[in-house]
């Protein structure tokens, strides 16, 4: 089954940019989008995903709160928090939730380290 990645961002432009970078690195991955944390949680109730990338600054639940909630439910799920808010405190809180931090603007270069780490983790032991 194809690896699936959930992209959570209130900005459509940001979802397009992240989607394009993911497609460039892993063209075979299934990309799923949600425009809020609430929509993402609803989606996750009905289907599973392998990787999540979430924006920080969103209306409603922010990306860090979402990552923390998701981490409690899914201790092993690879999660990345993507934001231009590169404050030390934001990065520290993402790390405390065992989530990767990806600075915006997102590009293939900034996303690659996270996605390559994920590929290694998801590769079945042989």
């Amino acid at each position: 089954m194809a690896t699936s990645i959930l992209i959570v961002d209130d900005s459509k432009l940001a979802r397009i940019v992240v989607g394009k970078a993911v497609a460039a690195i892993h063209p075979d991955w299934e990309r799923i989008e949600a425009s809020s944390a609430a929509e993402a949680l609803e989606l996750l109730a009905s289907r599973d995903v392998n990787v999540v990338i979430v924006d920080y600054n969103m209306p409603g639940q922010n990306g860090l709160e979402f990552a923390e909630e998701l981490r409690r439910r899914r201790p092993e799920l690879p999660i990345a928090v993507a934001t231009a808010n590169v404050q030390d405190e934001v990065i520290a809180r993402a790390r405390a939730a065992n989530a990767a931090f990806v600075p915006k603007p997102i590009s293939e270069a900034t996303l690659r380290p996270f996605l390559e780490g994920v590929s290694l983790k998801l590769r079945p032991a042989s």
Binding site: L13, N57, A84, P105
Partner: protein, 215 residues
């Protein structure tokens, strides 16, 4: 320059200019990544003026209708960060950041949302860099897109009198290949300036590595 020395001495003003330079340079680098073209910056200007005068300063340079994307920030000091450009540049900026991703029609259909996200990346990078250097966290609001004349756009809160004095910082940016230009600006409410001043003095102490003589 309208005597910021009233509230900041020379060394503090130098340090503030340098901090803003570093924050805005980071913001420009993020804009450069998004548009794929070089972004030129001017030297920052710092003025202590009323909101009404800040609006006049912008209107003198930009008499036509403007787009202002604004993010409020709060923390040890507080105010508004603004990305400002002539409304006639708006669609070109959206085309620049969506180039290769969307058709011209699709880009036009999501103009405000693309401007909000672009400004969010630019302004958040700038504010977060400032917060990191001053070692104090800042909370930032969601971006808000406004259109109109400078006077109306700078009157950002009905609770703030137009004659309330602010620290007004602004830098010109230009993307020459795209014929796009505008400003990255910050309005700092003066009651928070004293807090900012003490953070700047701490910043200077960390850099100089010794106590800074009192002003």
């Amino acid at each position: 320059m309208n005597a910021p020395s009233v509230v900041l001495d020379d060394l503090e003003r130098d340090a503030m200019t340098e901090l803003v330079n570093i924050g805005v340079s980071r913001a420009a680098a993020s804009l450069r990544t998004m548009v794929g073209q070089q972004v030129m910056l001017s030297v920052p200007s710092l003025e202590v003026v009323s909101r009404a005068t800040a609006a006049v300063l912008v209107r003198e340079r930009e008499p036509d209708s403007l787009v202002v994307v604004r993010q409020d920030f709060t923390g040890a000091f507080y105010g508004q960060a603004l990305l400002i450009f002539p409304e006639t540049n708006s669609l070109e900026l959206v085309r620049a950041v969506t180039g290769g991703l969307l058709s011209a029609d699709e880009a036009a259909g999501m103009e405000d949302e693309a401007l909000a996200e672009t400004a969010n990346v630019v302004l958040s990078n700038c504010l977060a860099t400032l917060a990191n250097m001053l070692e104090r966290p800042l909370e930032m609001s969601l971006p808000q897109v406004m259109r109109g004349e400078a006077a109306r756009l700078f009157d950002v809160s009905p609770s703030l009198a137009a004659d309330a004095v602010v620290l007004f910082l602004y830098i010109n940016f230009a993307i020459d290949d795209r014929n796009i230009r505008g400003y990255i600006a910050m309005l700092l409410d003066l009651p928070s300036l004293e807090a900012l001043r003490s953070l700047i003095r701490s910043f200077i102490s960390r850099i100089v590595g010794e106590g800074v003589p009192p002003p």
